[in-house]
């Protein structure tokens, strides 16, 4: 029998407003929204809990909600960044938003990356396509001078189908000048004036062959990329406990209540979306 009989409504979004909106990809399927908080108290509460790797449910009344990975680090400012791929009715409506438009947000949700466990470790961040957004948040977090000393070497491998589809182009360009990280970008087929890798991410990973010593690898990408990258990492000597990925499934409540996003007994929205390969191996193949 429950002992308390009231609780805040967890389905109620907090009010946000679009601060900036701009396309990331040349085909306009990827758009970044940076949202500001209407209420200071919500902002404080959000950043108190926020951890890279978490996601939020963006809420548009009349359309619905869409779970999206947070693509910014807390230190970047009083806003939250999301990069949205236009797929269905809600994401299409999100694409239609302009600076000043209101919307709702529920979050941060999910477990995020286990940064406390990664202290002192080398980070190998591997992303593909639009799934790079939370890895971008992670990279931004690590890059901050206060956070950087907590981690070892930082290697980022980011592949997209073409250069036009690459997200955060401007910022990533500046990473090549940094001496506290390695950045490797890849596209599927050669393009004129592309100086970086050409090839699929799993192959690029094998080429670069990051060392598994004292390292963790974090992989986020389309299912096909993850399917081949995880074994590539295993073959490089990364143990399953040191390989992490972020999963997706159709979601509604985002709180581990509606039952929908489960893999076996784990809810991707609550126990994930970040899982280690060791944890995944213990779960049934239900994805």
């Amino acid at each position: 029998m429950p002992t308390n009989f009231s609780a805040p409504n967890p389905y109620q979004p907090i009010p946000m407003r679009v601060l900036r909106a701009y396309y990331e990809s040349n085909d306009r399927t990827l758009k970044t929204l940076e949202l500001s908080f209407e209420n200071q108290v919500d902002r404080v509460a959000f950043f108190k809990k926020f951890n890279p790797g978490q996601f939020c449910q963006l809420s548009l009344f009349g359309k619905g909600e869409s779970p999206l990975g947070v693509a910014s680090a807390a230190w970047e400012g009083d806003f939250v960044r999301f990069t949205i791929q236009r797929m269905g009715s809600v994401t299409k409506a999100l694409h239609g938003l302009k600076p000043g438009d209101p919307l709702g947000m529920r979050g941060p949700l999910g477990n995020g990356f286990p940064l406390a466990d990664w202290k002192g470790k080398n980070l190998v961040i591997i992303g593909g396509g639009c799934a790079f957004s939370t890895l971008y948040a992670l990279t931004k977090h690590v890059q901050h001078p206060q956070n950087r000393p907590e981690f070892g070497q930082l290697t980022v491998i980011y592949g997209a189908r073409s250069s036009g589809l690459c997200m955060y182009k401007h910022d990533i360009q500046s990473w090549y000048q940094r001496d506290d990280m390695e950045i490797h970008q890849a596209i599927d087929v050669p393009e004129e004036s592309w100086d970086h890798h050409v090839g699929y991410v799993p192959d690029v990973v094998k080429q670069i062959a990051p060392s598994p010593d004292n390292a963790v690898a974090i992989v986020c990408g389309p299912p096909i990329m993850t399917k081949f990258t995880l074994p590539a990492l295993v073959s490089l000597g990364f143990p399953p406990e040191a390989i992490f990925t972020s999963l997706e499934k159709r979601m509604k409540c985002g709180l581990g209540k509606c039952g929908r996003c489960n893999i076996g007994s784990k809810y991707i929205c609550k126990d994930g979306p970040v899982f280690s390969l060791a944890e995944l191996n213990a779960l049934p193949a239900d994805i």
Partner: protein, 341 residues
């Protein structure tokens, strides 16, 4: 304390309670019984050969509930949480009462507790009626419950023929029944014998010990395709199930309302992603999900079985699928089929 409630006095008692509580009890609708608000003119149906069809969970977790209303003109959200209302649900069966406690682990424990559920649970008492003649589709004793199980109940009634023996199990229930004559030793003894007989009348339909592990080990085997073959993929088993809780959140734009509706893992669209990828593309995966959730994943979440053996899924499945047989077959698959070969 145990009391005697003559059946002839039942309506009067419920009418008396109605001064303070909204009383809800099983009454006839068409060919079957349903939990409806009690009035002094109500004709109670407590002797149905089987339980109500529509599950009692709807009294705490309505099938369709508006959870947010957006006032477009002011850009503000309206709070739709119900006020706790003092209610007595009379005549709930032990399987359904236990199911309410199982759903408490989803909606009323841990983080993000559900205010809608909590408000409805707050002032509601569950007065149970034990089943002295369990039906052919009941299997509560195989599912960690029983025809006179007490989980979740404020009081439990045993039908002794002309009278009910009432066992008050909570302080609030004591207050409700305190005006009645205490039961004597003979009556209490009758009740105990009746309860024991009812429990004994239910055969064990599967072995729970080790079942979860057996099911886990055959997750990727073909037995699930065989079990799911005739399944229609409708929502009957999940909607009538007192422990199923999956829900959908959908915006009804024409009403400026976000609504929570019961949903079912049996539908194709349940797990269908915007990219058109579906992790559970066929009936095999979906039927497996339902059975595994109830008989494996619930164990991992809260250490309890996610089924209380009410038998509604067995009784109302349009193609006669019987979860008891399905679980038995899946549980025996490893030893009878895989290892036998």
């Amino acid at each position: 304390m145990k009391y005697i409630l003559p059946k002839n006095d039942l309506n009067a008692l419920l009418t008396a309670w109605s001064a303070e509580y909204a009383v809800i009890a099983p009454q006839k609708t068409g060919a079957y019984a349903e939990f409806l608000p009690f009035t002094p003119q109500s004709e109670l149906r407590l002797q149905e050969p089987h339980n109500t069809r529509y599950p009692v969970k709807a009294l705490f977790f309505p099938q369709s509930e508006a959870i947010l209303k957006y006032n477009r003109n002011v850009g503000q959200l309206e709070n739709l949480e119900p006020e706790p209302q003092k209610r007595v649900i009379f005549g709930i069966r032990p399987c359904d009462a236990k199911a309410v406690t199982l759903l408490d682990t989803v909606f009323a424990e841990g983080d993000n507790q559900d205010p809608f559920w909590l408000a409805r649970r707050a002032e509601t008492l569950l007065i149970g009626l034990g089943c002295h003649e369990p039906c052919a589709t009941c299997f509560c004793t195989s599912a960690e419950s029983g025809p006179f199980h007490r989980d979740g109940l404020d009081a439990l009634l045993t039908d002794l023929g002309e009278v009910y023996l009432v066992a008050a199990l909570s302080e609030r229930a004591e207050l409700l029944f305190s005006g009645l004559t205490p039961a004597d030793a003979a009556q209490q003894e009758s009740a105990l014998l009746l309860q024991a007989a009812a429990e004994k009348s239910l055969p064990k339909v599967f072995e729970l010990d080790g079942l979860k592990e057996k099911l886990d080990r055959v997750f990727d085997k073909e037995i699930w395709a065989e079990l799911a073959q005739s399944c229609l993929g409708c929502g009957i088993c999940t909607f009538l199930c007192p422990t199923c809780f999956c829900f959908d959140l959908v915006d009804e734009a024409q009403r400026d309302t976000r609504v929570r509706n019961w949903d079912t893992c049996m539908y194709r669209v349940y797990s269908l992603e915007a990219s058109a990828h579906n992790p559970r593309p066929t009936r095999k995966e979906r039927t497996r999900q339902r059975l595994m959730h109830k008989y494996s994943y619930w164990w991992e979440h809260v250490g309890k079985l996610g089924c209380t053996g009410c038998g509604r899924c067995v009784r109302y499945c349009p193609v006669g699928l019987d979860i008891r047989a399905m679980i038995r077959k899946a549980g025996a698959y490893e030893s009878e089929v895989l290892h036998a070969n």
